[in-house]
């Protein structure tokens, strides 16, 4: 793929996504309560924690789907806290949903094309040689479409309505949308949930390949084995707060983490 992630060369990475003291409550009850973290380009970070600890809400805040009550979100140094979801997406931050979402009445190929088109459409308005550029981009877009369909084994389903896909196939299509969008900051809400082990492996490979392309990945996951295999480090949340950060082995040993998880079980 195009360029190799700098992390592989061992150079120190600069922060791409920074969240500072982020808070949001619903009806007076805090769901996210003073959360701060930083993630560098090329990193894969797991966000774990018991049910209802505020992980999805954090994703909603970071991606602009929800407004924060206070705090800041910085993407490559610029404040995106008050940007709307579509602006955040245009800045190269894409998210997936806990329950996979697709445009059911569009075909699989169209789902991917929509994810890819609008961005090229914007750069086209900037271009002076509009026509030629547009045609060239359309060619590139289709090439990328065929590549991605093949990578995801979705080629035979390209012209099916996306609503007929199985849950796992919808996950694949979500990944396809991310790849198509060319986003470099990926926030994935439980991408492996309800996916069989073989496909889970395939999705992990895709995440690894995206990282190799320089993407930063923040991923929520309950399956700790998948987290261990995929993530460089983890952030642990409980009741809206971050209670631990570090390698999975480190946080597993933390008293706070153990009691948070046990507290949920009891």
């Amino acid at each position: 793929m195009t360029f190799v992630g700098e992390h592989q060369t061992g150079k120190p990475q600069s922060t791409v996504l920074a969240v500072e003291d982020l808070s949001r409550s619903f009806g007076g009850v805090p769901a996210v309560d003073g959360v701060s973290f930083r993630i560098s380009g090329g990193e894969i970070v797991g966000l774990i924690g018991p049910n209802g600890s505020g992980k999805s809400t954090t994703v909603n805040l970071v991606s602009g789907s929800l407004r924060c009550d206070s705090g800041r979100i910085l993407l490559r140094g610029s404040d995106i806290s008050n940007r709307s979801a579509y602006q955040v997406a245009r800045l190269g931050l894409t998210r997936t949903f806990q329950i996979p979402r697709v445009w059911g009445r569009l075909t699989v190929a169209e789902n991917l094309l929509v994810a890819g088109t609008d961005v090229s459409d914007e750069s086209a308005t900037r271009a002076l040689t509009r026509r030629r550029k547009l045609r060239q981009q359309r060619g590139e877009l289709e090439e990328r479409l065929f590549d991605i369909l093949a990578t995801l084994n979705l080629t035979p389903l390209a012209n099916q309505q996306a609503e007929v896909l199985s849950g796992g196939q919808k996950r694949l299509l979500e990944f396809g949308r991310i790849m198509m969008s060319g986003a470099s900051v990926l926030v994935l809400d439980e991408p492996f949930a309800g996916v069989n082990p073989v496909m889970c492996r395939a999705l992990q490979d895709i995440i690894e390949a995206l990282r190799a392309d320089g993407c930063l990945v923040l991923l929520i996951e309950h399956n700790l084995q998948a987290v261990e295999e995929t993530c460089d480090r983890v952030i642990v949340m409980a009741t809206g707060k971050i209670i631990a950060q570090g390698s999975l082995a480190e946080v597993r040993a933390s008293e706070k983490v153990i009691s948070a998880y046990l507290g949920q079980a009891s």
């Binding site: 245009r90 998210r95 059911g104 009445r105 929509v114 609008d118 961005v119």
Partner: protein
């Protein structure tokens, strides 16, 4: 005697196809706009009416019906766009409650009706149509105007179809109609897609209005409003918000109304439309095209 019966039938079907063409244009505009923007527009009829008056006005200036149609489409587009930008946008973003949007669009409908009454008078105006003889086209008896209306609608519907299926903008429209939040999260400029959809639906409705005016030849400020029921019936029969369904719904309603008019009484046309609507709602509440989808989900 037998030949006469066949003639009455063919005649009614011929009429039905013309009516269906007009309903289809109106219903496709309604469905497209509803699907993408989520606003049930009870001022839809007025988009037809303003277009009809625009065509009438160009005629008063000695211009032909083709220019009248263009003026109608432009006026329909402009009014729909302004309706959204000036009034509905504020309501839609503040509250998604259906009752409010229904009440607001119904209010706009009354304002436009009265405005047209003030501008053009409440008496009916008459479009000058080329006086032409009905002639046989295949089994049907059509005037030149009828043929123009059918061809014009076909062109409008084909344009909508091609836009939706084969352009990036059409894909974006369908994506917004399908799942707006996902579209937003994917970086689509929803606001722009919605504004342009009002423009597009307004233009198509405008063409429908000019077609309707030519088929009636005399009309007043209530022209479009009187057509809202059949438009809604066609849109609902086809499955609300389903553009292709609306075409089939229009064909059904157009044929049923004209056939009932031919065999019973012209006064029963609207009743026939309502009867079909009720029947479809009883048997297939989400429209005649819906059956496949339910099966897929089951």
């Amino acid at each position: 005697m037998e030949a006469h019966r066949v003639n009455v039938l063919l005649h009614a079907i011929g009429f039905g196809l013309v009516t269906a063409a007009i309903i289809a244009t109106s219903a496709v505009a309604f469905s497209l706009q509803y699907a993408v923007t989520d606003v049930p527009n009870f001022a839809h009829g007025e988009l037809l009416t303003v277009a009809a008056y625009a065509a009438y006005e160009t005629q008063q200036h000695g211009l032909g019906l083709a220019i009248g149609a263009a003026a109608g489409a432009t006026t329909g587009a402009a009014v729909a766009y302004l309706m959204y930008r000036l009034v509905l946008r504020g309501f839609v973003w503040k509250s998604s409650r259906l009752v409010y949007t229904v009440a607001v669009t119904a209010g706009i409908s009354l304002i436009i009706q009265n405005g047209l009454g003030i501008l053009f008078g409440n008496a009916e105006v008459t479009l000058n149509l080329p006086s032409d003889q009905a002639r046989h086209v295949g089994p049907f008896l059509w005037t030149q105007t009828d043929i123009t209306v059918i061809l014009g609608s076909l062109v409008a519907l084909a344009t909508v179809h091609l836009t939706l299926r084969h352009t990036p903008f059409g894909r974006a429209q369908r994506a917004v109609a399908d799942n707006r939040e996902l579209a937003r999260a994917s970086g689509l400029r929803i606001e722009r897609v919605i504004s342009l959809t009002w423009l597009m639906a307004g233009a198509v409705a405008g063409l429908g209005g000019v077609a309707l005016a030519t088929s009636r030849s005399t009309f007043g400020p209530l022209l479009g409003n009187s057509f809202l029921l059949v438009t809604l019936a066609a849109a609902i029969v086809g499955g609300v918000g389903r553009v292709y369904g609306a075409m089939i719904g229009a064909l059904t309603i157009g044929l049923v109304t004209e056939l009932s008019g031919a065999y019973f009484n012209a006064g029963y046309k609207q009743v026939a439309a309502l009867a079909v609507l009720t029947l479809v709602l009883l048997v297939r509440p989400s429209g005649i095209l819906q059956v496949q989808r339910t099966r897929a989900e089951a």
